[in-house]
């Protein structure tokens, strides 16, 4: 690890944060009735899978899991070049469901805006909630997370890296100074 990097969460820390978020989701929604998890590619989809497993362990029930790719809904096409597309896989109807959207790092809020636009094009959820592993501030839109793993004060120039292993399980979260 380079000297300008600090580990904010190790894998045990990430695991504890996700366990707590799973409990909070169940508490807020009073169980799994109508609940679906949708992870934002890429990063959020892996966290959604783990959250799904935790919820199944706690409640003994499986809940539907989807992934969403928001590239086609970005507002910066042209300034970044055409990014490779991932697949959106939501193999169940969204109408009337309580959707928990999952991202790894919440920053400007633009990704979440794009994800919400993408969701409402696919169906009409009863509500949309937001879970994020790291909230690093600097919002540019009026967006707030319902479930946060860790709030990390950052400067705009710093970066947050969420590292995943080859099996897509999170390894650690690092803060990188410029």
């Amino acid at each position: 690890m380079a000297s300008n990097e600090t580990v904010i969460l190790d894998s045990a820390g990430i695991g504890r944060a996700l366990t707590r978020i799973a409990h909070e989701i169940l508490e807020r929604n009073k169980g799994t009735e109508g609940l679906v998890l949708i992870g934002i590619r890429s990063g959020g989809d892996h966290l959604a899978r783990i959250l799904g497993q935790r919820i199944t362990q706690i409640e003994g029930e499986k809940i539907p899991l989807g992934t969403i790719d928001i590239t086609m809904y970005r507002d910066d096409l042209g300034s970044r070049g055409s990014l490779p597309l991932g697949k959106t896989e939501i193999p169940f109807p969204l109408d009337g469901r309580k959707v928990v959207l999952i991202d790894d790092v919440l920053f400007t809020g633009r990704t979440i805006r794009a994800a919400m636009d993408a969701l409402v094009d696919i169906g009409r959820p009863k509500n949309i909630q937001l879970a994020t592993l790291i909230d690093r501030g600097h919002r540019e839109l009026p967006i707030r997370a319902d479930y946060v793993g860790r709030n990390v004060p950052t400067s705009r120039e710093e970066k947050i890296l969420v590292e995943f292993a080859a099996d897509n399980n999170p390894v650690e979260v690092r803060l990188v100074k410029p």
């Binding site: 096409l77 990014l83 490779p84 597309l85 959106t88």
Partner: protein, 310 residues
């Protein structure tokens, strides 16, 4: 990797990596076409002009639907209803369209190289939707996508392309693209319809269709263009159908999991029997379906691209 082409003029200019990116992008975009609301806002505010100097239903409609599903504004211009019939040159027409600031011109022309000529004279991106007997890149790419979906791979597959190779832009675009993907391409047709020297581009040439089809993974039939060379290059259509038509007996020579393709429109009973065209091995309508996704991918990649290597 990101896409670095400003124009899509042919598969000859695309690398294997470019083709893989286009196919992967198209595969992701297919999901949009199965939604109830088949639209994403990606190309909002972009203008696409479909400039068609030759008749086309499938390709023009497909490009138009592709543009609209990405929220671009698409405008169709066909030669018969435009100032082309009043004698305007291609360059003047293009300059006038350019003055209206489109982002992409999708162009079909009967002259080989017309889109290349235009690409050097206008600022916007040009997508070749068929130029003379030269290239038809979007067709070749949708062919590859269809084959990859059915076979799970491209590398090592043998494709027999049968018909009027000389006048087929589809055959040429397929040849460039397929050889890059590690596929074996067999060309087959009567001597009058296979250009001499095509072997140098990597194709194997057959005059006996049974030999060409034997153990093939894919059989692609080309349309005999009845309105054009059909009259001069063939003794009779009946003889052509007998020697170069795809019927169930001939298809049985290919691998048991062979797929049958055709860029359309079909001349049923000439190059392909209705039984085969409607049969279980036919993926002709899958090709049309994939056409929309591939064209969405091309529009997206060209519109959002970083054109440093244009």
């Amino acid at each position: 990797m990101s896409f670095r082409h400003k124009h899509i003029l042919g598969t000859e200019q695309l690398s294997r990596e470019d083709i893989e990116l286009i196919l992967d992008t198209a595969e992701s975009l297919r999901e949009i076409n199965s939604r109830e609301i088949k639209k994403v806002p990606t190309l909002r505010g972009k203008t696409i002009v479909n400039l068609f100097y030759e008749a086309s239903t499938r390709t023009r409609t497909s490009f138009e639907i592709a543009g609209k599903r990405l929220s671009a504004d698409t405008i169709n211009m066909t030669a018969s209803t435009s100032s082309v019939t009043k004698g305007e040159t291609l360059e003047d027409t293009a300059k006038n369209i350019q003055a209206m600031k489109p982002d992409i011109i999708v162009m079909r022309h009967s002259a080989s190289g017309a889109p290349h000529y235009l690409a050097q004279r206008v600022d916007c991106s040009i997508i070749n939707a068929g130029d003379g007997a030269h290239e038809h890149p979007s067709q070749a790419l949708l062919d590859l996508l269809t084959i990859r979906q059915r076979k799970g791979r491209l590398e090592g597959l043998t494709v027999a392309i049968v018909g009027d190779i000389t006048h087929s832009r589809v055959a040429r675009s397929d040849l460039y693209a397929m050889t890059k993907m590690g596929m074996k391409v067999r060309f087959c047709g009567p001597g009058t319809m296979v250009p001499p020297g095509i072997e140098r581009l990597g194709a194997e040439v057959f005059t006996d269709m049974d030999d060409a089809v034997r153990d093939a993974d894919v059989v692609m039939m080309l349309r005999i263009q009845l309105e054009r060379q059909g009259k001069t290059l063939l003794p009779t259509l009946r003889e052509y159908a007998r020697l170069y038509g795809l019927n169930p007996a001939r298809l049985a020579l290919a691998k048991s999991d062979v797929i049958v393709m055709h860029p359309g429109p079909l001349n049923r009973g000439v190059e392909i029997s209705s039984y085969v065209a409607n049969g279980s091995r036919s993926v002709i309508l899958n090709q049309v379906e994939n056409g929309v996704a591939v064209r969405m991918a091309l529009l997206y990649l060209v519109a959002g691209g970083d054109h440093s290597e244009a």
